[in-house]
Structures are given as structure tokens and as C-alpha cells.
Symmetry: C2
Subunit: 312 residues, 2 copies
């Protein structure tokens, strides 16, 4: 499969904002995120249905949200499309997209969390590299962490390989080894909903990255078992995990079991290195990761290194 790299973000870019999943609970957060982008010299264009609401947790109907995705991601005047936030709903759109048209434009897309479904579908269907990380309504609404900010803009702009990750704490080795492969994954809860569907990305020769938020330990266990039994963990070359924010809670009155225990237990299912504590997840400090780029995962050195450019 050919890999489609988006064009690097220009210094003064026109950024389109879409909401393929849930709406803003507090619209002021999106306004603050837009202000941040404008203060950097960018021009921001909102998709028509960004402020819509439907069925409680959706930013408009499926038809309207899919129309926004298609319009913004094929618009020649737009340099990049940022998803305002995650929530739930991007998987509902996957049957409604014109992947050929999306391939022709190879838009630079930034999403995270629920947007994992859209990102993996774009990777599976057309090999488009997309970015998982900081979002306007989430990270840019408050004072963005400087380290997060620096990496974010470098990831979107630099035509050179990003090289080794830089984060304030070391990664942790769960299982030793070194392996290379293209990076796939995202939010665990969302990624598992692609298993057995036409949007599941092939696992062979890949490096899988996973994070999650607010999941009880038994649920993380159940999802990792699903990945194992669906053959994903046995096929990838390595696994790296980010933050498990507010996860790892006990279910009801069961005693606490840390997510780390579950991860250590499942690690032998992976034929390669298993690394944890990547600065990636539902926390203000996060590395924005280009999905689809060739990486090296290792229990030595920085842990994760990007070997190829993410834009061209």
C-alpha cells in the first residue's frame, strides 16, 4: 500500500475545524482554542456543523458531520483540518466518506481519542498519515504545555524525520527488544471497535500505540484480550502504551488492580518490545504522534524514534 503524506503546514496556514464526534460542552473552550491559533498568525475556518447537536452526544447528524469532513478535507483553500475534540461518533461516519476524494487531497488531519476511528479508517483505506495529539478545544483552550506545543508544531511542519521522542520522564520497559514498523493505534476503547470491520488496519509489521481514559481495569483487560484473540498483539512488531488517565479503577467492590499489572500479563503475547509511559494520552502533556510513519521501538535509548518524515 502506498503511504500518503500530507503537505507540511505553512507558517501562516488556513486551518479548518470540524467536529466529527461530540459537540463542545462549553463553546467558550473552542473559542479560546481558535484565539490561540489566530494569535500564531493562522486563519481559522469553522465547518458549518461544528456547533450542531444531535442525540445528546453527537455534534449534528451523521449526514451533516460526514459532509463537514468531506468539505473541509477536500477544500483546496484549507491547509490542515483539526478536530475540535473527541467524545464519540466518528466511527458512525466511516461508511459515508468518499475515500478516493480524500486520497486526492491528502489533507493534514489532527485528531485524537474518538477520532482514532476516522484516523485508522483513513490509514486502512488510503494510507493517509494523520496526527494524533493536541486538539483546539482541549489542549489549546487552556495554556498549552510548552513542551507539548513545541513538538506539536514541529510534527506538523518539519519535512525531516521527527527522530527520537523527547519527554520529561523516561519510558518504562515492560518487555525488552527492538523492532521497527509503521505506527498504528490510538485510543484503546475506540481501536477495538474496528476489529472485524473493513476499517481494521492490518497488524503485521506494525508498532501499536495505545492509551485510554476512565476505564476500569477489568475493561482494559477485556480490550487487551480482544486484541490478543483477534490476532493483533501476535502480529505487531511491538507495543507502546501512553497514559491511562483515570483508568485502572476497581469495578464495584473488587480490589484495585493497576493497569500496569494487566499490561505485564499480556506482554508475552507480543513478539517484540513492550514499552510503557509514553507521553501520549488524555493529559495536558502529550506528544502528537503521526500514525503511519515508520518508527523504531526499543527498550534502549528514548524508547521511540520516528525514522521517516510525516509530511512532504
Amino acid at each position: 500500500m502506498a503511504v500518503l503524506l500530507p503537505r507540511p503546514l505553512p507558517r501562516k496556514a488556513t486551518i479548518g475545524i470540524i467536529a466529527p464526534a461530540s459537540p463542545q460542552r462549553d463553546p467558550e473552550r473552542l473559542r479560546r482554542g481558535i484565539r490561540y491559533l489566530e494569535q500564531l498568525g493562522h486563519t481559522v475556518v469553522l465547518a458549518p456543523h461544528v456547533h450542531d447537536r444531535f442525540g445528546g452526544y453527537l455534534a449534528g447528524t451523521d449526514v451533516d458531520r460526514a459532509a463537514d469532513v468531506m468539505a473541509m478535507m477536500t477544500d483546496p483553500r484549507i491547509d490542515a483540518v483539526f478536530c475540535s475534540r473527541g467524545g464519540y461518533g466518528s466511527a458512525r461516519l466511516l461508511d459515508r466518506l468518499d475515500y478516493r476524494a480524500l486520497a486526492r487531497r491528502r489533507m493534514l488531519l489532527v485528531g485524537f481519542s474518538d477520532i482514532t476511528a476516522l484516523q485508522m479508517a483513513l490509514w486502512r483505506k488510503i494510507g493517509l498519515v494523520t496526527f494524533s495529539g493536541a486538539l483546539p478545544s482541549v489542549d489549546m483552550a487552556d495554556r498549552i504545555d510548552p513542551h507539548t506545543e513545541e513538538w506539536f508544531w514541529r510534527a506538523l511542519c518539519s519535512p525531516r524525520p521527527l527522530g527520537p521522542i523527547r519527554q520529561p520522564w523516561p519510558t518504562t520497559t515492560v518487555q525488552r527488544g527492538t523492532a521497527e514498523g509503521r505506527l498504528i493505534g490510538g485510543n484503546l476503547s475506540v481501536f477495538v471497535t474496528l476489529l472485524g470491520t473493513p476499517y481494521q488496519p492490518p497488524s503485521k509489521d506494525r508498532i501499536l500505540v495505545l492509551e485510554d481514559v476512565g476505564e476500569e481495569t477489568y475493561r482494559v483487560d477485556r480490550m487487551l484480550q480482544h486484541l490478543r484473540q483477534a490476532g493483533v498483539l501476535g502480529a505487531v512488531n511491538g507495543l507502546i502504551t501512553g497514559q491511562w488517565s483515570q483508568s485502572g479503577r476497581p469495578a464495584g467492590s473488587t480490589p484495585h488492580r493497576p493497569v500496569e499489572d494487566v499490561l505485564a500479563e499480556i506482554a508475552p503475547a507480543v513478539n517484540g518490545p513492550v514499552i510503557s509511559e509514553l507521553m501520549y494520552g488524555h493529559e495536558p502533556q502529550k506528544l502528537t504522534l503521526p500514525f503511519g510513519v515508520q518508527v523504531r521501538l526499543s527498550s534502549r535509548g528514548a524508547g521511540l524514534r520516528f525514522l521517516e518524515p510525516a509530511v512532504r
Copy 2:
């Protein structure tokens, strides 16, 4: 595929109790369930690891729980095996079972909720009919609902077809039609973890039954979308849903959306009848359903009718 029917439960049976998933939070509940069975004249045998605990939410290690499943479900002195309760963990055992040996004995198994994974694996691998419904530590620990009780024992004993369901309220038509097929399904959260694995039961010409407990509406939506995109909803002949106990809650501060709305929205993905309000789920009043038996689902009459015997 040949369908394996278990032998009918004798009047004075020897019942083995296993815990393939989570342990008893309150062991007194299991004792009360055992007392109920003994008062009916049955002999109860506990698997060696029923009271084990491991990792907080598991009733012992995978090795020990799988050994209990194999020992009890192949023991010629045992007439039926009841799972004490659900929780989480039966999916972890699926790679560790000797399905050939299980086919030779064709044990009468009663499980529910998390046991869906074990039941669908037994159906997928060896065509064994198993029963989803009342459990010793759950329904038999308190005064069992008389209607639930009557149906339960009839389901396990009667060599005649169970015929139309009997429940105190009518089923509700979400989408009209009449269709026949073998009954598969169980707990939605557990059933979806089989998608894309070797334990996923084929969907063609089946009737799917689903229930769940404690899931926010967006999660039910996400799981139904997963079933749709994995081709399950488009392949089955009909869908019937049970109770959504404590489900349908809003996520965070999103407005409430009833599960019924999500069900109505997804119904057109099913090429056949969609019926709701079956007396089946995480409530004291529940019909015990034999998975794998040929049924007729219809928007007319009782809604669901069992056309073939569940035991022979």
C-alpha cells in the same frame, strides 16, 4: 455444523458449580444458591477453584479456572454445570479449552453475562447448545421470582420445544417482520469482544439477542455500530433485545438519550424484525434462553417462539 443438544436435567441431578469469571464478592450468596438447589433434591459439587481469587476480579488464575471448566464439563458423574456468577474473565480461557473433549460430553451448561464469551465459543467451536439465564449466586441467592423459576427448570428438563415465551408484559416492535434462525448473542459488551476472533459465531441465518447492564448510551451506540460495521446486523435474520439495566445513562454532562432511541436508529441495518422488551437481562425476572436453538422472531404474537427442543 452439527448441533449438540445436552441431555435433559434429571429430577435428582448432580450439579457442578464453576466460576470461570469473577469470584463471589459475598460467599454467603453462593451458599444460599446451593441451599436452594439442595432443597429441590439436587446434589451440588463445587469445582476446586470456585472460591479462589486472583488479580482482584478473577476467581483464580486462568490455568485453574480453565481446569475447573474442563474437569466439571467432562465429568460423567455431573449432570449439569452452573456458573456461579459472571463478572469478567471467561474470555481469557477460550484458548485453554479442549473443545473435542467438551463435545464428547455435551454438558448442560448454564451461564450468563460475562459467560456469553464461553457460551458463544462453545457454540462456534462444537455447536453446543447452552443456557443463558438464572445463576446460583445471583438469582437463586434470594427468593427466586416464581415465573423465572418455572421457565428455568422447564428449559433445562423439557425434551419438547419450549414454544412461545411467556412474560408478564408484551414485547415491543421496533421493526416489523417475521424470521427464523438459531438464537445467538447474550451480553452486548461481551459479545462484541468476540468480533474478529476465532470465537465469533457466524451471523448468517441467525436471530441475535442482546442485553446489557450499566452502560452509558454512547457506549451502547458504539457497540451496536461495531456490530453493524462488522457485518453482524446485516447478516442476521432478526434482532431481539432484553433489558438495559442501569444503562442509558448520560456520559458526563451530555443530555440523556434513551437506549431505545439508539436501537430505533440502528434497526434499519437489520434485514428483518427488531423486537425489544424481552424479559432477559440483569434483572430478577428473566427468561433462561437456550443459545443455538431454532426460534421464530415475529412482530406478531408472543414475539419469540422456540421451535425445537433444547435438550435430548
